[in-house]
Symmetry: C2
Subunit: 504 residues, 2 copies
């Protein structure tokens, strides 16, 4: 049976190449896609080819690309390779696009995921020309059943002048029912978002659109980007252990119960290890109100440890993606996919009392966190939703190995070279050496705890820095946040000069 149930839209079926002809240089295009799930599979390559042809002719051809979050090599990757992206927001993690951002080809506005769709709605980017959104199917009424991510689909479909829909038959039709589409009223008529528990559904399973805006429907049959997670290594296991110790401490202090843990978790190998640790823990009836469903959460659901996972997208290994596609209707009882404005909304995050866990690039001795700019300048991926959750979560934690690049980069530095999470927001930091509970502490009280998290190779350097900083601060009576400004960024300078933060 055709997946395009609406006659008007069926008449718009064409090839990706034909659809791409509708796109012009300079267009602002909002697409579906979040952590490699649910992005359009055909248009990006077709647009990239148009750009290449134009560039060969000596013509300009670049677009401004807005997504949910990261996409995939056959989306961000092909477009970046064709030098077709002038401006990109709000999040990416593609190696080629990253290099284009860092060589200056592409302008990148790294932005909070909860606000990026809102920003479009408010007109802060100007008029959006196109929305390109992947669907599982189009209903008779012309409603879109979204595929494996929701992201900013609603905001782009509502606000773009023209719509292109990709109907991807690779995506299981059983995904229908997972989505929970809810629109927040526009100002000045906004109402409370009525979510008081992660399992609540408050909207519809499809997106209603203005059919007259649809200029093309393209049929595809291509998989999401699904990369395997790394096997859990010793470092990740230790970090997971310390995280569990921290949770156990909260229970012991009477601030948490074994069935009261509501999880938000960033994506990656270390968070996945934490979830593996939870499998064997005393915690039960775990709920997730988070951005992304990853393998570890599926395991928790299968083990009966997790009752519900609310997110906006999947980030699964190929094996788990196949399982999800085969058993989507079963999982749909415990998995809800929401627009990212809702999955990450400060209002709901604050209300539910989340315990949040995200990764970081570096933290400093006072607990400020850099999640984005390596050595202050080079963009890694972006802030993503980490700030949406970190500021408003009940307890916001960060997990990281104590070093990177074979030991040449310390995750703990005297002063971070870029700040994404301020000292006020960062409550707990965890490395393989333990956890630092920073709650209720003034800056100077945090230092010893933070240095204890560092790799032993870096501890003497950090201690030496702090002693010098303290001496200056005592002398000048500037003791709130002692720093030795001449050496505050010395770890980073040394890395730039010698390739290592260590003394050579």
């Amino acid at each position: 049976m055709s997946r395009i149930g609406n006659a008007q839209l069926k008449s718009k079926v064409m090839t990706a190449e034909e659809a791409a002809e509708l796109i012009n240089h300079g267009d602002k295009i909002g697409i579906s896609g979040f952590t490699g799930a649910g992005y359009p599979k055909a248009l990006p390559t077709a647009i990239a080819n148009r750009a290449k042809e134009a560039h060969e002719r000596g013509d300009d051809f670049m677009i401004d690309l807005f997504t949910g979050a990261s996409t995939a090599p056959d989306c961000d990757g092909v477009l970046a390779e064709a030098d077709a992206i002038r401006f990109r927001t709000p999040y990416q993690s593609d190696p080629i696009l990253r290099s284009k951002i860092n060589d200056g080809t592409t302008l990148y506005m790294d932005y909070h995921l909860s606000e990026s769709g809102l920003y479009v709605e408010q007109g802060f980017f100007g008029k959006m020309n196109f929305a390109i959104v992947e669907a599982v199917r189009i209903t008779e009424d012309g409603h879109i059943v979204p595929s494996s991510s929701i992201g900013n689909n609603v905001e782009y479909l509502d606000n773009a002048e023209k719509i292109i829909i990709e109907v991807n038959s690779w995506q299981s039709e059983e995904l229908e029912g997972m989505a929970d589409i809810y629109r927040i009223n526009h100002l000045p008529n906004r109402q409370p978002i009525p979510i008081t528990a992660p399992e609540q559904r408050i909207g519809s399973t499809y997106i209603d659109i203005d059919l007259d805006k649809v200029v093309a429907v393209v049929e595809t049959d291509a998989p999401d980007r699904n990369a395997p997670f790394k096997p859990v290594d010793e470092t990740s296991k230790k970090i997971a252990g310390h995280f569990l110790d921290f949770l156990e401490g909260e229970v012991a202090a009477g601030r948490l119960t074994y069935d009261g843990y509501i999880m938000q978790s960033g994506v990656g190998n270390v968070p996945n290890a934490v979830m593996a640790g939870l499998l064997d823990s005393k915690f039960e009836n775990i709920k997730a109100y988070t951005e992304v469903i990853q393998d570890g959460m599926v395991d928790l659901i299968d083990a009966g440890k997790m009752t519900v996972a609310s997110a906006t997208s999947f980030s699964l290994s190929p094996e788990y993606a196949e399982k999800m596609n085969n058993e989507a209707s079963r999982y749909a009882k415990q998995i809800i996919l929401r627009p990212q404005q809702i999955s990450n909304h400060p209002e709901v995050v604050r209300r539910l009392g989340l315990i949040c866990t995200n990764g970081l690039i570096e933290a400093d001795i006072y607990g400020n966190v850099n999640s984005t700019n390596v050595i202050g300048s080079r963009m890694m991926n972006g802030v993503g939703g980490s700030a949406d959750f970190t500021r408003n979560g009940l307890i916001s934690s960060f997990i990281t190995p104590s070093d990177a690049k074979g030991g040449d980069i310390s995750a703990i530095v005297p002063m971070v070279s870029h700040v994404d999470h301020t000292e006020q927001d960062v409550k707990v930091i965890i490395t393989e050496y333990g956890y630092a509970d920073l709650r209720g502490l003034a800056p100077r009280q945090k230092v010893e705890k933070m240095i204890a998290l560092a790799h032993p190779d870096y501890r003497p350097l950090l201690e030496e820095y702090y002693e010098r900083a303290l001496k200056i601060a005592e002398e000048k009576k500037i003791m709130q946040t002692p720093h030795d400004l001449a050496n505050a960024l010395s770890f980073h300078q040394r890395f730039q000069e010698t390739g290592s933060m260590k003394l050579s």
Copy 2:
């Protein structure tokens, strides 16, 4: 007629000195008080005297002091002078306390005002020993009618083991009715906060307490700290003019209407100048959902320009404080005082679509903002509620003169020496030289706009810095946020060495 209507509490009346005898070294004490309004007038001096006597005997005597926000010389000031404050949170602005923080005597946890009460509720500080709260009167039922600020009164009264009430007959009894006391349910039963417009009242006009926890009632008759605002100077007038230009631009772009402005405003002379500018503007039916009612808002109300002001406290000049005390029942129709957890709540701030305006210490060429630590180390006041509003406001702006200290400190620097507001959160910055609208821009696109805000004396230095940073970034392909790490903090280092950020 007595202001203590309840017999049980009447039996607890004693002198401040007697009440202070109940306080022990090491106690955690949560008091009322916000921007110099509604703080206890007698106990602080009595506790300070106890501390002095203990210190003279060679005994330890220090308390951990929790407030709404800043208090006054006869509260923070006397306690700091007696070296009686071991730990202080969440906000202060007292000169003596500030010096004790910066000389290392007092540990200061600078914290978001919307979360500080919540932090106590969650037990993150451990057990609170005392709540000391100022009241206008105590009702027959033993309810407390709060005085000129609400702050964290509810959280401290609910969570402390013992309560001391100061009934201050200086405060007008007509303040009764202004307060709107609302408690958010505890986890896991939190519900949406039902505020959808600043004028909505959702609670009671008094605070109900556990009478058995009250160990003392002290009668006082002393004024709030009410400092005059400075007359509007030329620089402030220019800043106010640029702010209005920005608002007019939003109207012209169709993103704002002349009767759709909902204001949040930080406290100070420049914000007060902005309000004076609004008096003569085309904006009507202005509403405020903010922290503090200051003179300029009273003028807007009196002029019929502002229909409602919701806040948690007053910060008035002596003249305006007298007016408020005399005409409180009239103003109560347009003024609502809420707990600071509600006045600053991310949920409500985001929902209402506030245009937020706060001050800053320095901003960098990429729009990161430092609101707290002068030259990276020395605490000025604190982050206060600025981050509550800045992250969640519809448009978050910062206003500041381009320089300070007679020109020796530039408000625009290459890299801020401390970050309180990240590049993602800062939408507009305004100095006397214009406004920089940073919305929708990648970091490099912000630089020219930011340098144009700087004092002309600093512009060549900033341009030179950026050129050097750009050259390094081009060479190393780290173009997201170009920095020259060796000189990123050079303005600050120069100030520390020579007393000026200028080249000597």
